[in-house]
Symmetry: D2
Subunit: 135 residues, 4 copies
């Protein structure tokens, strides 16, 4: 099921801190961008999912910081689906400096599908199938 999607962002000035590099929390924002684009590429639009009353809440997130990203760098985000169950999805991420190929960070998130009241619920079958690219 090794499924992945690659997207790219450019580091914004707003994302840097006074150490001159990207502030550590912002890598999780980029992971979210990667996830949304992964879903879009599979026709599983996240905004539509929410319009249907469902959300994906992050239950756990880990980032390993390997090399700093800097202002104006182009960063390549590889989002890898590593698991899908009825109420849970896990992704790995590999963030790379687009020009040099330097690995900047790896990350992991576990998401749980919840309804409007915050309770875990099963994802719609068609959403799960879209995720794994089944037909």
């Amino acid at each position: 099921m090794a499924q992945s999607h690659i997207t790219e962002i450019r580091v914004r000035y707003a994302e840097t801190d006074r150490m001159g590099v990207v502030y550590y929390a912002n890598y999780l924002v980029w992971c979210e961008v990667g996830r949304v684009e992964f879903l879009r590429a599979r026709g599983a639009n996240y905004a539509d999912l929410e319009a249907g009353g469902l959300g994906l809440a992050v239950a756990e997130a880990t980032v390993r910081y390997l090399a700093p990203a800097r202002f104006d760098d182009r960063v390549r985000i590889e989002t890898i689906l590593t698991g899908v169950r009825s109420r849970a999805i896990t992704f790995d991420y590999v963030l790379t400096h687009a020009e040099s190929g330097t690995r900047l960070a790896t990350a992991y998130t576990a998401l749980v599908s919840i309804d409007a009241t915050g309770r875990p619920v099963a994802m719609p079958a068609e959403f799960r199938e879209a995720l794994v690219g089944a037909r």
Copy 2:
């Protein structure tokens, strides 16, 4: 009606940028903190207002940056109510370095009360009265 409220925040590392000072958009976050505390001091809790189906949307914001704020600085936010109409509120802000007294920025925001669909609506009379400190 010169009504004002003072609150204080401490600059977070996350709020700085690689110029070594606070990123310019973050001053608007601090103005929001000042507004919320202004309201709370008058018994007009903003979370309660939203629980009642009403929101305050920003229609205009201006910041004049006078001196940079830096990591770990304590910043004094003076929030000054300058106008209240049935559907609109305006605030001025004066941001000062708490220790040195240096003026860091002045700001202005105009807010419009909206319902859940985003349409302008009159604020509840009790909310407006609380705002201006009437009894």
Copy 3:
């Protein structure tokens, strides 16, 4: 001298707030993205400018919010150079919903060129010339 540049961003989940729309401070982040791309399109790389010991500090910023931007919207940022002097640059911005063409916001920023100590200094002639597209 009506010079402008258009770039586009997609609204991130991180940029929304619990009102369901983009948090008001984030429009200033998008203006920064617009400015950086304006400069790049003229060969005036902002990272290079800083590498040379110069920065552009925002002295004033204004945003007028016309319609809300929402998660996953594509937003078109038009950055318009409105003035260049030896130590100062002004830009206007028009933010538009890329699909519907709805105008979301207009903005204005005034920037001052400063050295590493924060003092206003003249910009290099070649930088100013690049800005206005002179040859």
Copy 4:
């Protein structure tokens, strides 16, 4: 060496997302606030450390999200020093809803002391001693 420090923040509107709860990356910002206050309480000012040419770069961060934090909630951040070596520090964090006592999240960060060029260097002895409360 079970050393901990407690500080408290109030959730800002800026920190929420359209799910109506705090956006997941912001918990790492709060961990940073907790760390800085932990250090301050031990007389080990982080701004001073950086003024001496040293920084603490995050090498790894993990957050487990247990219950959502919402706008205007007061959040109690307990920062627990779990390890100090010559070039590395580890912290655990427990984030709790201040009023209800509900546990919101637990987190972990590993930090490495680096010089201005980003190379790992030993922390000053007095800084390490301050950290562990030695005399």
